[in-house]
Amino acid sequence: MPSLETAQLVKEQPRKEILNIQDLTKSFDGKTRAVDGVSFTVFEGEIFGFLGPNGAGKSTTINMLTTILRPTSGSATLCGYDLIKNPAAVRRSIGVVPQESTADDDLSGLENVLLCADFYGIPRRVSQPRAWELLELVELHKDARRKISTYSGGMRRRLELASGLINRPKILFLDEPTLGLDVQTRAKVWEYIRRLKEEFHMTLFMTTHYLDEADNLCDRIAIIDHGKILKIGSPYELKESLGGDIIEVDVQEEESLDLSDALRQIKHVLDVRKNNSEYRIKTEFGEQTAPDVMDVLRLGGATVTRISIVKPSLDQVYLEYTGRSIREEHADSSTGRRPTHGRGMSMRMRR
């Protein structure tokens, strides 16, 4: 369990705050609250993940922290500088790898990185070798003189990474760094991210909606939905917080028959939720409880069509806190197993 080790390691060291956010809020047009009173702390040298469905407020938060958007209220300190009072100092100490490719198509890779260096006011004698070094890091040095318009999606993302590092940022913000990349390129990007942390002791703040990415890379994760932080912790802590296994049972009958109360009486069962024709039963010991669940349902007159025991995973954590499965977010609710499941669940949870 590498995440367990990391969690403990991080705990043992005295942790230095590098990013402190207090009650950050952004509302658009005075009504829609994209980010709603978010507070958290990021420590030096960690990879902090922001996990949430589309439209949860991840990008808005990043845009505020990178001074692109002005917060409606709240405050934040990055690397000791106040976000509102001293944005120029904040900008000098951060790097940004945006979600979409922002490089200038008509320029070459090298020219794009140098252009970024000029934005920071880095003199050419420093920026020229540094640009080459970074291009080598992301393995673009052979294509450095080619126009960006000839680059593939993965190459563009790697170039963004090189550009984001040109000012030697203390914190690097990555907005969905592997969105839309193929498996190999994703693995490469992960490798770069790990190296930045290990070799350069950089703090990384990333948003993602890939659970495996968060699980693999992040030291700590914040789950965000509807502009609010639902849970913060290491992947291990989050999985622990579920407090057991989950048994998912599909029955043929619809709403009319509800056996939740009977199920709650079973030994080891912690919680039961019913959504349409599906029960989600939280239990301390999945394997032991499952036969009893079958019995209770059969005796109650339900026909079980499917049963599965799910061990704690980040996927489950995510479902637990956002009420939506990340796979459904991805499939855009069209190829998901239960298309209406997500909505119904989240409504139940908020009640």
Binding site: I68, R92, I94, T102, D104, I122, E133, E136, L165, E199
Partner: protein, 323 residues
């Protein structure tokens, strides 16, 4: 077989990248990445970088340069040459009963009339001087489009997350469109000379003065268009604005016809239009025409226009860029 091959290449790639990692780690202590450096923090740092970025896009694609010259060449070659007002006086003698005017006298009258009306001996030269303003104006209008593109492609957001001076963003657009506008105007002038532009009055001072006037005009207009575009996300809207304004600005100026041709309701508009003053400067300097206004007033007017627009444009853009 294929699988083994791919596994093997995968491994060798891995080994290679491992080696690279080690070599990088070894020289890490000396790497440029680790090197501290003093940053240029002047309020306008990055302005040249931004200007140069626009210029690179332009001179690296000569096709666009050539295409953007086609229109002015057509205007010059077809319109300018066809509107041969001098031909009204057919160049032969007049024979009305009781009045016989010899050809030489007619020619003298023609020259006099042309001089009085257009300030030069032929309409083509008069019109070509106006085209210099037109092509510069057209370049100035493009600056708004590129702001919209930058916003759509996320480039603007990238700029905003860096310590780049906020004022440098609109000013970079303005300066690049000035440089592009002036070089396009220079090319148009050369083409006009090849097509028969009256060169008898051209002096070095005259050329410098002409381009100084165009400089001020482009500066003012591109600031205006950057300002209009800075919050827009639709290039269609921006295109509409450009199309809507370009012809009125051209026709409601003295670029194509002298002010005195125009109805009295149009004349005040022409006299407000900065394009008229840039054209007036060109004609006075290049053709030695008696101007619409004294030169000092032309420069004062254009200078004020440029200054007001640049200041206003920079302030408005700065405010709108930090939402």
């Amino acid at each position: 077989m294929n699988m083994t091959e791919s596994v093997v290449t995968g491994k060798s790639e891995e080994a290679e990248s491992e080696k690279r990692l080690q070599s990088m780690a070894a020289k890490q202590s000396l790497s440029a990445f680790e090197q501290e450096t003093a940053l240029n923090q002047s309020p306008l740092h990055g302005l040249w970088a931004l200007t140069n970025r626009e210029l690179k896009k332009w001179y690296k694609t000569p096709v666009i340069l050539i295409l953007s010259l086609i229109q002015p060449v057509i205007w010059l070659g077809l319109f300018g040459k066809a509107m041969n007002f001098g031909a009204i006086f057919t160049g032969s003698s007049f024979n009305i009963p009781g009045l016989s005017i010899p050809k030489s006298v007619i020619d003298q009258i023609a020259a006099q009339v042309m001089q009085n009306t257009f300030g030069t001996s032929d309409y083509f030269s008069f019109f070509a001087a106006g085209m210099l303003s037109f092509i510069s104006l057209f370049m100035a209008m493009q600056s708004g489009m590129s702001v919209v593109w930058d916003r759509r492609l996320g480039f603007l957001n990238k700029e905003l997350s860096t310590p780049l001076a906020r004022g440098a963003i609109p000013l970079g657009k303005v300066f690049s469109s000035i440089l592009r506008g002036l070089s396009q105007a220079a090319i148009v002038l050369i083409i006009a000379i090849l097509l028969g532009f009256d060169v008898s009055h051209i002096t070095v001072t005259g050329l410098l003065g002409t381009f100084a006037g165009l400089f001020l005009m482009v500066m003012g207009f591109s600031s205006l268009f950057v300002m209009l575009a800075v919050r827009s996300t639709s290039q269609d809207t921006q295109m509409m604005i450009v199309n809507l304004l370009s012809l009125p600005l051209l026709f409601a100026s003295n670029s194509m016809f002298p002010v005195k041709f125009m109805p009295s309701w149009l004349q005040p508009i022409v006299l407000v239009n900065p394009v008229s003053y840039a054209t007036d400067i060109s004609r006075q300097f290049l053709l030695g025409s008696p101007g619409m206004a004294p030169l000092w007033f032309d420069f004062l007017y254009l200078g004020s226009f440029a200054l007001i627009m640049v200041v206003l444009g920079t302030i408005v853009s700065r405010r709108l860029l930090s939402r």
